[in-house]
């Protein structure tokens, strides 16, 4: 609750020591599918960076590289920001564990979790489930949950890790607007409290503006940074506020241009243009 | 019964002597089956059977497989030891087989470690036999009983009897895990030559005339009924082979090793062959009394239910053949 002041938290990287730094990072899949093309990107400690880009532009690839799950073909990645937690695009829950046990496992492995008792972890897991509005579902198994509920469990698990850097790949994609709003608030609160560095992939431009200190636009395949928008709106912001909507419209326009530039020859022949993997 | 597959085509088709018929003969690649080895190698069977009967041989590694083959109509005759013959007789209630000739006698010894000198020394020792309830096993138990040593079928008692395969006996004797074994040739010779064993008992010493059956020839009863002529020819070949063995032991040994080489890829070492061959007598006499006595012993030591062996022998043909050759007839008692 001793959160730093808002001004300090929402500032750009410049003064800060970077928590995550990508330097001309490229990624080639297989022989010749260039997924990322010399991406250079920095997230300051405690910064909330949102990534936007068309489907298949390499956002998940980028997060995977930062998380150290895959190796970049070229370029350098520094993650000095501390321990990394990640929410995958799919829930990736362990089917053999109950919902609560999935979270307890994360608590157990991470940092101070090692010294906690099973009972403490269970209590903490229940708390985290409350946060994602799934109290009372701890004893269920993942397959007994709906898609959106699984996603929320994955969020709870990522939060359980108490990491310093949080990578989130479309974390709220399967949620209704209401639940999403509630979780936005929760995420913002935790981000503030824990001084997290967040890399947040989304397709919802308003969500990006609602949450981010900065919105980074990636081009279509191969993914590369085309523009960055610092968001200086005061927090707390509201998704349906006019300011957020306005900024979102600007960014959407820019995105639209980018997509259109790539998808030049209209509908059908788009394919040859969209291939871009030669 | 009739044959179904390629190897058994003509058999059981009826007693047509003119038709091309088959005789399927089984034996083991084993020195106690030398009559068969020599008979096959030297062509005695083929010659006796003539052009109208084809000889098909099948080799087995142990009695049960041969018995199964006889039962299943897969062979017509086989050389076999006394135990499987008794089993085949008793299990089929006297329907499956007949013993039609003897083949070999003797060549069974109790081989022990050098430091053992008498029956009394065997107390607390481990002695191997080839198979629970087989001739050697029964002989050992009966002998120990006579020596006043107690045994039981579970390896307990004064002397612990361990039924195990002969090949394993060679190894366990060499490594000192057992103290002795009641085994037939060529294992007895190998134990002596390879592992410095010595003979404590020569089983033939325990029998009248120093002879007891170790191999004989059995035929399927059905076959005997349908093709007495072929059985007669088979026995003629058999008698020829035994005659050759006693007249030319050197040539016989050569033939034996050649056939063993053919069948199992490995001949016996000459010294093993020599010593084993010397200890076995090849005879047409099935030594019926010893078989019956042995079965009696088995009942006494509790390894065999009472069995009526009356009629297991059919030596009429053998005696015909022998008398044609001017030799003495043999008895089935």
């Amino acid at each position: 609750m001793t959160a730093p002041t808002k001004e300090l938290r929402s500032s750009r990287t410049d003064g800060h020591e970077p928590a995550v730094r990508l330097d001309a990072v490229s990624k080639v899949y297989g022989r010749d599918l260039l997924a990322l093309d010399r991406v250079t990107l920095t997230a300051g400690r405690g910064e909330f960076v949102c990534l936007l880009g068309a489907s298949g532009c390499g956002k998940s690839t980028l997060l995977n590289l930062v998380a150290g799950l895959d190796h970049a073909t070229a370029g350098e990645i520094d993650t000095k920001g501390g321990r990394i937690a990640m929410m995958f695009q799919e829930p990736a829950l362990f089917p053999w564990l109950t919902v609560s046990a999935n979270i307890e496992l994360a608590l157990r492995v991470t940092g101070k979790g090692k010294s906690t008792t099973k009972k403490e972890r269970r209590a903490r897991a229940a708390e985290l489930l409350e946060i994602v509005h799934l109290g009372g579902f701890g004893a269920k198994r993942p397959h007994e949950l709906s898609g959106g509920m699984r996603q929320r469990v994955a969020l709870a698990r990522a939060l359980a890790q108490e990491a310093d850097v949080l990578l989130m790949d479309e974390p709220f994609g399967a949620l209704d607007a209401m639940t999403r709003d509630l979780l936005h608030d929760e995420l913002e609160r935790i981000w503030r409290e824990r001084e997290l560095t967040v890399l947040f992939v989304t397709h919802n431009v308003r969500e990006a503006v609602r949450l981010g200190d900065r919105v980074v636009l990636l081009s279509s395949r191969p993914g590369t940074v085309i523009q960055e928008f610092p968001i200086t709106l005061d927090r707390p912001r509201r998704t349906d506020s006019g300011e957020v909507a306005g900024l979102a419209a600007t960014i959407t326009d820019r995105l639209r241009q980018e997509v259109l530039r790539h998808a030049k020859p209209a509908r059908r022949p788009v394919a040859t243009g969209a291939r871009g993997d030669g | 019964g009739g044959g179904g597959d390629a190897t058994t085509t003509a058999s059981g088709a009826g007693g047509g002597d003119t038709a091309k018929t088959e005789l399927r003969l089984g034996f083991f690649p084993n020195i106690t089956h030398s009559t068969a080895l020599v008979g096959v190698k030297k062509g005695f069977f083929e010659k006796a059977l003539g052009a109208n009967v084809t000889l098909k041989t099948a080799t087995f590694n142990a009695g049960p497989a041969a018995t199964e083959a006889i039962f299943s109509d897969a062979i017509d005759a086989t050389y076999i030891g006394p135990n499987p013959a008794i089993n085949a007789w008793s299990k089929s209630k006297g329907q499956a087989i007949k013993i039609v000739a003897g083949s070999a006698s003797g060549g069974v010894y109790l081989i022990v470690k050098p430091e053992i000198n008498s029956a009394a020394d065997l107390k607390g020792k481990k002695i191997a036999t080839p198979q629970l309830g087989n001739t050697q096993d029964v002989a050992l138990r009966f002998w120990l009983q006579q020596q006043g040593l107690k045994t039981d079928t579970k390896g307990g008692g004064d002397v612990s009897i361990l039924p195990q395969e002969n090949a394993q006996t060679l190894q366990t004797f060499a490594t000192g895990d057992i103290d002795g074994a009641w085994v037939p040739e060529p294992f007895a010779s190998r134990l002596i030559q390879e592992s410095k064993g010595k003979i404590l008992v020569d089983e033939s010493e325990l029998w009248p005339n120093k002879q007891f059956v170790i191999t004989h020839l059995i035929v399927r009863q059905q076959f005997l009924k349908e093709h007495p002529d072929i059985v007669k020819k088979l026995i003629e070949g058999h008698v020829e082979a035994n005659a050759y063995i006693s007249s030319d032991p050197a040539g016989a040994k050569e033939a034996i090793n050649a056939e063993l080489q053919d069948l199992s890829g490995k001949p016996l070492k000459p010294e093993v062959l020599d010593s084993a061959f010397k200890n076995i007598t090849f005879t047409n006499d099935p030594l019926a009394s010893t078989l019956i006595t042995s079965a009696d012993h088995a009942q006494k030591v509790g390894l065999l239910d009472p069995v009526d062996l009356n009629g297991i022998y059919d030596l009429k043909i053998l005696n015909e053949v022998l008398s044609a050759k001017g030799q003495q007839a043999v008895s089935d008692k």
Binding site: N64, A67, L69, R83, I84, A85, M86, F88, E90, A92, L93, F94, P95, W96, L97, L105, A106, V109, T110, R141, P142, H143, E144, R157, Q161 | G1, G63, P64, T67, E68, F71, S72, P84, N87, A88, K91, S92, K93, Q95, A96, K126, Q131, L132, G133, N134, K154, G155, G156, S160, L162, P163, Q164, E165, Q168, Q171, T172, T175, D177, I178
Partner: protein, 286 residues
Amino acid sequence: MTTTEISQSIAGLDALELSTRERRGLASRIWSRAWPMISAIVLVLAVWEVVVLSGWRPEYVLPGPITVLGELGDRLGDGEFYNAVFTTMRRAIVGFALAVLVGLVVGAAVSRVRPLRAAFGSLITGLQTMPSIAWFPLAILLFKLSESAILFVVVLGAAPSIANGLIAGVDYTPPILLRAGHILGLRRLALYRHVILPASLPSFLSGLKQGWAFAWRSLMAGELLVIIAHQTSIGEQLDNARELSDAPGLLATMIVILVIGIVVDMCFGAADNALRRRWGLDQPVG
């Protein structure tokens, strides 16, 4: 009706249904599992009897079910039989437990350590194909004529299978779960324990089942290796029956082996069903 009422009434209905279901459970559920088995058995016995009655082979070669079941009944009335079953089961269980241990360690090591895999991976299947009798001399060299020699043969028979099951499971663990585990900070042994092992459980379970079969077959052979005082065993009985050309005895022993195999399979089956239920693999499809 309000929602709560509805859900209460449904719970009520459910409870009702449940109680009948459970009452059925005691009779009908067992029955529904049992009838196909019983009819299968009856069918097999009938065909068997018909073949025997047809006189295809004499009774002493192919005895009828009545003879064989009579023989089996005689044995069931004899204490010796239970001793034999007990001895063999004890050896099977001890040998299998050892094999699981060995298989687990070897499988874990080989599946994750690349040079070990290159060196020994294929050797595991190689060992699996080695017939038990080939190990007898070595078993005796190492363990003399003791029960350990039998267990040695059993372990050598079953462990490769169990290791292979684990390796297959590890190989087919979904990468996304491995990544999730990695991100949680699980490494090496912890990753193994918390992700790879549970994810490989289905394959491991089927490896265990195969391993049991190998263990049992090796045991049947191995029990002829050493005959230990005052301990008859099923392997010995099987061999004796064959040695004595005792067809009813052989078939009775085969039935005993089958029944034990079936019971063991049912245990594995129960474990398997529990696993599938927990993993949500038993959902309806259409």
